[in-house]
Symmetry: D2
Subunit: 463 residues, 4 copies
């Protein structure tokens, strides 16, 4: 794993008039594919039928022409979609989302981005009370809570359930009539609302709204429950807001064209690069980004430093999802298959920019490749602080013992990756570049929304 | 549909020593494929891991080499399997069995042959109490009842749940430790127990036991719960027995080499043919069975009548599961593809023997084919009474309005199928041939285990 | 391998008016599936387009709905089809038929049943002259010969090519305009002609004609080339006829409802059973056929002996094409999965009838199963002579050293299979039952159409 | 189609010692995936066995783990690979390469990048002489010529065949013993040689050599035939060289890290951008490349102009190969799905850089998106001349009537795409940037290697 991994992207759609709901959600999923590449799913309804298709794989592997056809309802008006990288619940078919269940609310579907830190004790209590679980995901706990609140409307039940749940999460719910969106009181994970000609759309990031034909309206607020009733957008503040959105969305996860809680990802990245130059300038001939993650910060670093931005590393667009035979010799070629140096770096002093370092092995490969291609010096600059702590709110930063910065000093990391110099952006630098309150728990271990009792990883899988 | 359709076959296995559980269950499923061709599934455990693979399709379509490999556990000791033709719950992937759920008993799997006639009111009550359902099958109701009895052992919970359930059913349950088998108080559907070198096996029909390396021991008794504890077979009479096993198992469903509640299927069929000759002799030159369903009775009819048994109809073994394009011309060729007359019948007076007539269309085709091939007379003899009523205990006899005998007299049926003479075996004849108490509800409308409140078909699908 | 294996079935269709050619050939293939289960293919044309689909697998595995759709031409008028079990050319995708090539005749397709015994020297000569081969089948040699005869019409070229070819073969050819059928001068392999409302059809066996909507007209004569020209059936006697059709077609290969060179397969089999009783009567209680291969002869044996015909062995219709894991224990269950004894044989003296014995292992299993099921005596009767020699004309009888009768006397075979008595039908008995000149080379080593220079097996695969 | 399309990439490998040939060729194919996305194939040999796997699809779709396993030979020492976009021969399975045939040289495989302009008359002659063709590709003509030169060694036969062939082509041949590489006398398409520890490798572009563990040695020279004999690299100048390599390889096709005939693609692109600024400066705030095709030239334009390079367009890496339902509304979103503007351009005057314009529709979409995102001015600069003529040497530039520059003036194109200004690089600018003789036929219609007699497109498909 080269990068921390976002666990999920979520999408929802509600329209007064019939739409090609499955087709639009499919496009939206393609716009959110970077948020999860292990499974994808879509649920649609016309008020009567309720269809779900989901499976392991990339969006375009799961949604073949045939499978999309199975989701086509002539009068479809609402739907959910989900793209997943698993953090809790292993990578099994039955953990793919949207999860569905038949409950006192009728059929319910749920799509979830984030984690509940108290899922284990809640599940234990529900089991003792006679509940049945079909998956090993923490998401299903929410579904079970809702099933027990059948006397309330779905939005009210959702607000009630939020009181029992801890952690960082953005969630979409759907029954045959409506779509409900909600965000934890810290707003750790993003969730945006868009306006359709005759309805509303919801998405983890605004560019997905546009692909579904919607105009960005606003973000769901921390602690808020939002839904559509008689064509109107309704809102209910379930819990008092206490914002601490995840800084890593701006550092790396979100698309550069995303606007999150009022701050553009591209601008934040350019500012991180500018801050990075201010904190850690380098004597060099050119700025080279690690494509694609280091591009925004490299633009900022080049802007502040006056150095030219050069395309010193080529990224093979076809290298992504390939079966490489597991002989040692071939595995070593995997980074090479993905990235290779161009002639730009020959004889040059290079400032190499990336957004983060997780285990350091890929960074080490890149530095070696640049030197082999003739780079005279390699000054590694990272546009975020060292990652020292796990995330409990929906990001897989690798196990603590795999995090190079959890064990090693900056100088030790520099020696490991073989750079001439190495510098990370400070926490202050990140905050200045983003400009609002943020969660920096993976850098400093201060968790705004609690930590799980059970330790580093939620243990729902064994029952 | 040419024949009433059995809905399911079930299998279970428990061994003290590690076995190739998936491999043995796979063989057992192949031996029970005639009991359900729409879906197949296997669950296995080694006491820790609990794996399930299931999908729509025939056993050899679902269980490819790759999929069986996924079920291989080095220390596997127990497992369940199921082959399904859907009667309740439409033909959807999520309705395939074994169904599994995480409950207060830990992971539970269930495999079910039969129907609960009170599934709908039970489910409604459970939903009001906060339950969630993952499928639209009546089987899941049992799973939910068990989840609420977490304070009892699994066999005790099963016995308790049986008190709430009505209908005809044979069921296998499994958690990480044990396998539980049970049969409704009327013993409507069969379920046999076999002895493994170090354990026990369970199967809808004994020939499947032998393929799993087990020796037939006895049948599960009506109303009995059976399980393995510390290597011993334990038993508990949950409800007082009141036997009424399904006569159609002997007439058509069961393999001819099956022994059911002490009576061999082949012998019963031969006796039905003998009774049939006694009740309805015919002046003819030869006896011709409709392969394969009429063979046993044809042997009996030939034996009593002294007429030679001839192979007048060839059955193409490859015609089974074929996509035939739905143009009218081609569809008309479908019976012809499956069956065709041989030269044996030319110029002859034929007694044609089949086990039953459902809609009459196939019978009509066969009579016409025989005449076209030169048969001088066709005397149709059926080794069971006319089917006039639906089955509520796990058999799909087609909707009432499709049953030719529900609407027409024997003479009208004869005219429809174009035979020279036609006769059905009497209820008394069936009873004499089998020799014990049986359920004859599909012939006479007397239902020993109750009827559903909602009418002909259980309506669990809309929620 | 339990039985000698036919290598191929061939089909052709030519119509003045547009037809669902692919749909009809698909039905025809299903009727000929018993002649080859390793690959299937269809070629169709409307006079302009020329489409081919073929692959490894059974007909219904290769021809999914989607694949048939790809062959649908609105104005299709002619086509070929082939079902294959490989004798020469290993089981590779590129050896599936119809083979096609672009030649001086335009696109040509060929479907072939049989073998050329001089394929190797012919191919060597063609290679030296600059030819290219796309497959390792002997069939392609014919295609190459035709390509070199571009100055002749296709039927003339076919007649010319026959002069160079030796062996036993039935062949269908097709270009964009016509279909050509031909049969070697000995007529070793069958080929029948049928009449369509506005055209003609061709098939290895007549029942396939009927499924394509055609009426059986006559057989292609030994040494004859037949084709359709301006709606008329044209004929050309390429080589003088010298009939010696394969006796095994009547003994086992052909469907019982097939009429071959004027003799019905079912009748011939019944007569073989009658001859068999005359030659080798047995003191017994019943006649039991090995299903399905022994049924015809068992009817004859029962008729002559006056013994009752009983259904003592159940054949599982789903056991056919199943992946069984290759552990020893499970493999031993394979015969059991396919066949199992019914209660009919308990305490009885059984005459067991089969059409042939190849390696003897399956026969041995069956005898053991019958004894285990309680049979008091087992008298094995075989309705053909011992197979001692390989076939060079399109049948795979297993390698010589696998043929039990090549090495062992009848008494040694009896001891091996464990029967109380054993008898084979004599060559004279076979001839009397069929009633005309036949090829009996696999029994007596007298090859009417020559033998290959290279030895037992044609060696085209290495080049 | 947004861009001219390269038709193919080719790879070869010869080693004295056994290697994971299939694994290495697979990696090499992934490095050449940009040269063809419609089909992929690999052939390998160990001197005895000769295996081929090929199919329609991307490299990672065709080469699943299972399929690669089928190509694994313990002692494999040589192989070929091919990735294809079809220019002649429609997109049919049987046209996938490597093509193979059994000939007087034994089994031969061929992988081909380019086109023969005289394929049609050559094929007509061969057909008249009795040849058979298995495909509709021009490549097979070479195979047929070689088959007729069986008296020569394979390299000599290849040299002889080259005398009969016209056009632009790079070809790899393989039999059980050796690999032969050759390039047409103009060297239109690239082909590089690499040194393996104990052997040699060949590839369309050097980065693929490195992924196969080889070091770049030199290019195959125009008109040269190269092969390995007793471990030595042998060479034969089949035809006198007359270099005119395709300029579009440097403009767009080749990877930026490729070295072609001594000139680095990245450097050539940067120089094109510098020339472009010199010829067509713009008053603006920033340079924005169309990713990824415009990046190299944008770096050069930024360098010469002193303007900052900004990441104004985000390219979704998952948008590539997606099934988009063909409703109008959804199709319009396709460019949007692939590219979207970032906040960088808001309020700015943008110089937008791309390498070429084919039909203009995508360019028009991009300009509109930038304006919508707030760009004040858009100055479009193209780093190559207008494409006015078709390519006959292996590139699909779209039909002439689709080429916007074939019909419209630069001012008309500017109006169509909606830019404020538009400029193309001159032919002289391209030549200066590359620095040697090049083929510029698609810009100026001067074809160094002849044109086909039959008109714009080779017509091999109808036979």
């Amino acid at each position: 794993m080269d990068k921390p991994r976002e666990e999920c992207g979520v999408l929802g759609l509600w329209s007064e008039e019939p739409l090609d709901v499955a087709g639009l959600l499919h496009l939206g999923l393609l716009a959110l594919q970077h948020r999860g590449q292990e499974a994808a799913g879509i649920a649609v309804s016309d008020g009567k039928e309720f269809l779900v298709e989901k499976d392991l794989g990339l969006v375009n592997q799961v949604f073949t022409e045939e499978r999309l056809a199975r989701l086509r309802l002539g009068e479809a008006r609402l739907g959910l979609a989900h793209t997943r990288y698993s953090t809790t619940g292993s990578n099994l078919r039955f953990n793919a989302q949207p999860l569905t269940a038949r409950t006192a609310h009728g059929v319910l579907a749920i799509a979830h981005n984030g984690n509940f830190t108290n899922a284990k004790p809640l599940r234990d209590r529900l089991l003792r009370e006679g509940a049945t679980f079909q998956s090993t995901t923490d998401t299903e706990v929410m579904l079970l809570l809702l099933a027990r609140l059948g006397h309330l409307s779905l939005p009210e039940a959702a607000a009630e359930a939020m009181k029992a749940l801890e952690g960082g999460y953005s969630i979409l719910l759907m029954d045959r009539r409506t779509v409900v969106a909600l965000r934890d009181p810290h707003g750790v994970r993003p969730l945006a609302i868009g306006r359709l000609p005759k309805g509303y759309a919801f998405a983890s990031e605004p560019p997905a709204l546009e692909l579904m034909g919607a105009r960005y309206l606003r973000d769901v607020r921390p602690g808020e429950v939002v839904w559509v009733e008689e064509g109107e957008l309704k809102s209910l503040q379930a819990l008092p807001p206490n914002p601490a959105p995840c800084a890593f969305e701006w550092i790396y996860f979100a698309r550069p064209d995303s606007l999150l809680d009022g701050v553009e990802a591209y601008e934040a990245r350019v500012r991180m690069g500018m801050e990075l130059f201010r904190e850690a300038p380098a004597e060099a001939d050119m700025v080279v980004p690690v494509p694609d993650s280091g591009i925004g910060a490299a633009v900022g670093y080049a802007r502040s430093s006056g150095l030219p931005l050069e395309y010193g590393l080529y990224k093979n667009p076809y290298a992504g999802r390939t079966f490489i035979q597991p002989t040692q010799a071939l595995r070593d070629l995997k980074t090479r298959l993905k990235l290779s140096p161009t002639s730009a770096v020959r004889g040059k002093r290079v400032v190499l920019i990336d957004d983060s370092i997780v285990r350091g092995t890929t960074s080490r490969h890149i530095v070696a490749m640049l030197r082999e291609a003739g780079a005279r010096e390699v000054h590694f600059r990272v546009s975020s602080p060292p990652i020292r702590f796990p995330c409990y709110y929906g990001i897989d930063t690798a196990a603590r013992k795999e995090l190079i910065a959890a064990e090693k000093s900056v100088e030790e990391i520099r020696a490991f990756i073989g750079a001439d110099t190495l510098a990370f952006l400070s926490e202050e630098g990140v905050k200045r570049a983003i400009g609002g309150p943020v969660c920096l728990a993976c850098f400093n271990g201060r968790y705004p929304a609690g930590v799980p009792v059970e330790g580093e990883k939620l243990a729902l899988e064994i029952l």
